[in-house]
Amino acid sequence: MPEPLIKARNVSLEADGKPILKDISLDIFRNEIFGIMGPAGGGKTSFLRLVNHTFRGSNVKIEGRLHVLGEDVLSDEVNPTPLRRKVSMVFATPVVLPMSIFENLVYGLRIQGIRDKSRLREAAERGLKAAILWDEVRDRLDKPAQKLSGGQQQRLCIARAMALSPDVLLLDEPTSGLDPISTFRIEEALKELKKRHTIVLVSNNTKQIARVSDRCAFFLMGELIETGKTSQMFTVPREKKTDDYIAGRFG
């Protein structure tokens, strides 16, 4: 058994006196797509935000241990900046910055102080190819990114994250607002990406989890109900709640 890239042990999270995550333990390994599914308010986004150290709230109480790339990200000593470069996140709604496509892509490099033109170009191209967007935008990199279609914008966001060559890519419902074709493109890109990266994919579309993930977890009201191989979870789930959810009986 290889050492997991993300290792959560009894992670509990509370904000504003409200429990958000309860006693979560799970492992995510290299070069897999790990799906997280569950109904709204289950704590999926919060979990991702813990992983890259961007959870914000008042009165936050955290317990347990969460190791990401060997580093304890729940400790006060963690340096968030390099962590976020290695663990990149893409939000549910595509957020393109009001700049050109190129400047969007290299934003993460520019803030590292990288000015070298060829390095920036290289990173932009790498990102776009990873998100399968290169052919569509290669001749208009200097055009405003906000002119792109919704699906292209979301892929641009993935490309922007990939331009940093992260080890882990956290995707929070990346296809929730997209048409089937854009969704398909993104799923294709993900399957390609997992050859060299590790992907955590949050989705409340169970079919998508079934289609693309290798292993997955089911979050319900802050609790981890079940985790395991996707093929097993979708055929012979151990828990009744998982079965109900997959069958569409709630959520």
Partner: protein, 276 residues
């Protein structure tokens, strides 16, 4: 009285109120322009005042006004925008923000004559700057500070939170987010506030007369005294020196203020449109 009648009377009152206010504005602008603009020639703008302003133009007062505004903006913009950045980016709502907001509100309510007294006693007398561009500039900066804080805060708040999130997940520090995303996107709104405060500053008299002074010489150093256009107009009109030149000066004043307001209105609209 039937509800229908009441409705008509009320509506009539509202409409006439609004149009009275509008009429007053138009009257002010029309009178000043009609009586003043014919005397505003290039010579008037580019000649220095002579014989206390009875003859000649207003060149030195234009220079004084611009100089004064520039100095006050250099002071007020960093402080005002900085305050807005602190309030929106570097803290959470709480006691401290409440105190700062209350202080800003109060400062906005301080009458200009008090600011004039303050500037006079602190800068002119106690610190020994005498009447000069620096004394006037600092005093005026304090006057426009609340305007800049308020407009900047609104502009910064209007920048989508998601931009900051993107900066964060791509490994940017808060400061990088402010410099690279927040400020550039808030710039039009901040600029609108700056333009508005320039409009305020141009017309201000009570603060300026006690801190910048009334010298008709063109100021060079920031320790030189000067006379702003508004002060010049006040002296011309109040001492009955020259009605013709008073109107002409007023026309220049009101015209610049008109332009400034229209420009800032336009900026604001572009800003709002850019957002949606």
């Amino acid at each position: 009285m039937t509800p229908k009648r009441a409705e008509h009377i009320a509506l009539g009152l509202m409409v006439s109120g609004a149009f009275l206010a509008l009429a007053i504005l138009l009257f002010i602008i029309a009178v000043i322009m009609i009586k003043g603009l014919p005397h505003v020639t290039l010579r008037f703008l580019l000649d220095n005042p002579m014989d206390m302003g009875r003859a000649g133009g207003i060149f030195s007062t234009i220079v004084s006004t611009i100089y004064l505004l520039v100095v006050s903006l250099i002071i007020a913009i960093p402080l005002g925008v900085g305050t807005a950045i602190y309030l929106t980016e570097y803290t959470v709502e709480g006691k401290v923000t409440k105190i700062i907001r209350f202080g800003t509100e109060c400062l906005a309510g301080v009458p200009s004559i008090i600011l004039g007294l303050f500037g006079f006693i602190l800068f002119v007398v106690k610190m020994g700057f005498s009447w000069c561009v620096l004394s006037g500039g600092i005093s005026l900066a304090i006057m426009i500070l609340p305007v800049i804080i308020r407009t900047s805060e609104e502009a910064i708040k209007a920048v989508p939170q998601s931009y900051r999130d993107v900066n964060e997940v791509l490994g940017g520090s808060k400061w990088q987010g402010v410099i690279r995303l927040v400020l550039p996107n808030a710039a039009p709104g901040i600029l609108t506030g700056i333009i508005l405060s320039v409009g305020r500053g141009i017309g201000e008299t009570a603060v300026v007369i006690f801190t910048l002074g009334t010298s008709l010489r063109t100021p060079f150093s920031i320790f030189d005294s000067g006379r702003s256009m508004a002060v010049h107009f006040y002296i011309l009109a109040q001492e009955g020196i020259s009605m013709k030149n008073a109107y002409a000066t007023a026309a220049v004043l009101v015209f610049s203020i008109l332009i400034i307001n229209i420009f800032s209105y336009y900026m604001m609209h572009r800003f709002v449109k850019g957002r949606t």
